[in-house]
Symmetry: C2
Subunit: 226 residues, 2 copies
């Protein structure tokens, strides 16, 4: 086999592999990506240019093999003895998550939790841009919350239909969550990040992601028991 043929074959093989990867990054890897990002951005801000999977793994108390595999899923190639170039790596991970282009979203429920989330700061880092907040409380409507105006919850459906906003953060009390979620779904929302402690039942074409504090606490309880 001569070098030329070999290269061509390798390139095709590589391209196919990259495609395969994009389609199927394991969920646990996806969940680890944000912590990689946080750490990488910290390094970047300190002027570091290269990072090895080994170092990153140590920082995050993970196995280096695991980290290397996770990074491989982004399609970016590392360099022996050096590791990965930080800035392209950040871009590659963000792209894998779809965080490279900001997603517009609305937040429904301007109570303590909603307010806390708006002030969390991290949202923009996640490529999430809250462009409107909705609440039912007449005292809140018209007020500003971290730079975004609070609108009447009755106008949510109109707003979604008009702006084609794909995503909603749902921070209303549990008792209202199902009803409001159905309205969001009817209005054409694509994804709901649900902070209410109930399982929403909607048509399958709406993606629902629930933040389940009880699960997290259950894990803590069981670890404390031992």
């Amino acid at each position: 086999m001569n070098g030329r043929l070999d290269n061509t074959e390798n390139r095709h093989l590589k391209e196919r592999k990259v495609l395969d990867r994009i389609k199927s990054i394991p969920l646990p890897a996806i969940r680890r990506y944000p912590s990689y990002l946080r750490r990488l951005k910290k390094y970047e801000s300190e002027g570091v240019l290269w990072i090895s999977a080994t170092t990153l793994a140590e920082d995050l108390s993970l196995s280096s093999i695991l980290v290397r595999k996770d990074l491989a899923c982004t399609g970016l190639e590392g360099r022996p003895k050096y590791g990965f170039p930080i800035e392209p790596l950040i871009c590659a991970i963000e792209k894998s998550l779809g965080w490279d282009n900001a997603t517009d979203a609305i937040l429904v429920g301007a109570g303590n939790l909603g307010t806390a989330l708006m002030g969390y700061g991290g949202f923009t880092q996640y490529g999430l841009k809250i462009i409107a907040v909705f609440d039912s409380d007449p005292l809140k409507i018209g007020e500003m919350i971290h730079g975004v105006k609070i609108l009447d919850i009755e106008k949510t459906a109109d707003f979604i239909a008009r702006t084609k906003i794909p995503m909603a953060v749902l921070t209303v009390p549990a008792a209202y969550a199902q009803l409001i979620a159905m309205k969001l779904s009817d209005a054409g929302i694509k994804g709901i990040w649900n902070f209410a402690p109930i399982k929403l039942k909607l048509s399958n074409d709406v993606i629902i992601q629930r933040v389940d504090l009880a699960s997290s606490f259950a894990e803590l309880s069981s670890r404390l028991k031992k």
Copy 2:
């Protein structure tokens, strides 16, 4: 083999198995327990006495085999054709989680997130009892928050040392989280439920459970991308 001998052997076998189970309920099962509990309590409130793994599974969109296996881990035995008795099942799950006896805890950081959590209501359901809240803001100290008094954060260490409180809910801004966590650790806290978006570094005898909103959002993003 006669019946008597058989029974004795079976009992021993069963006891050993129960012990094994308690030691090693798989983490994914632990994480599912709270959703089982929620649903079971709803049934209980409706006067239902028995529930089958099949029904519970359908309600929660899980495989019935998975649910049956999870329930088996509690040590409670089901009854063919009937399923499991609801009330004992609730107790068995709560016991497996250590939620049968309330754990006293403090909450550190009475901002929006802390306030939201105090109002969440679910805490008592999880066997978690917040007996004091701490904050550094002089305007907040002395105020009440959902029936609990806000104390000066400087007094946290004393409080922990005096009351032997095992657990803390940490809802302070990310910038202060590490420092405060170290103080909690020094004061003798056993477990920290960390809501700040950073990885705390403490001695290994403190159990840290982080609520990582970014992970959850990463999952949503990647599912929306498809």
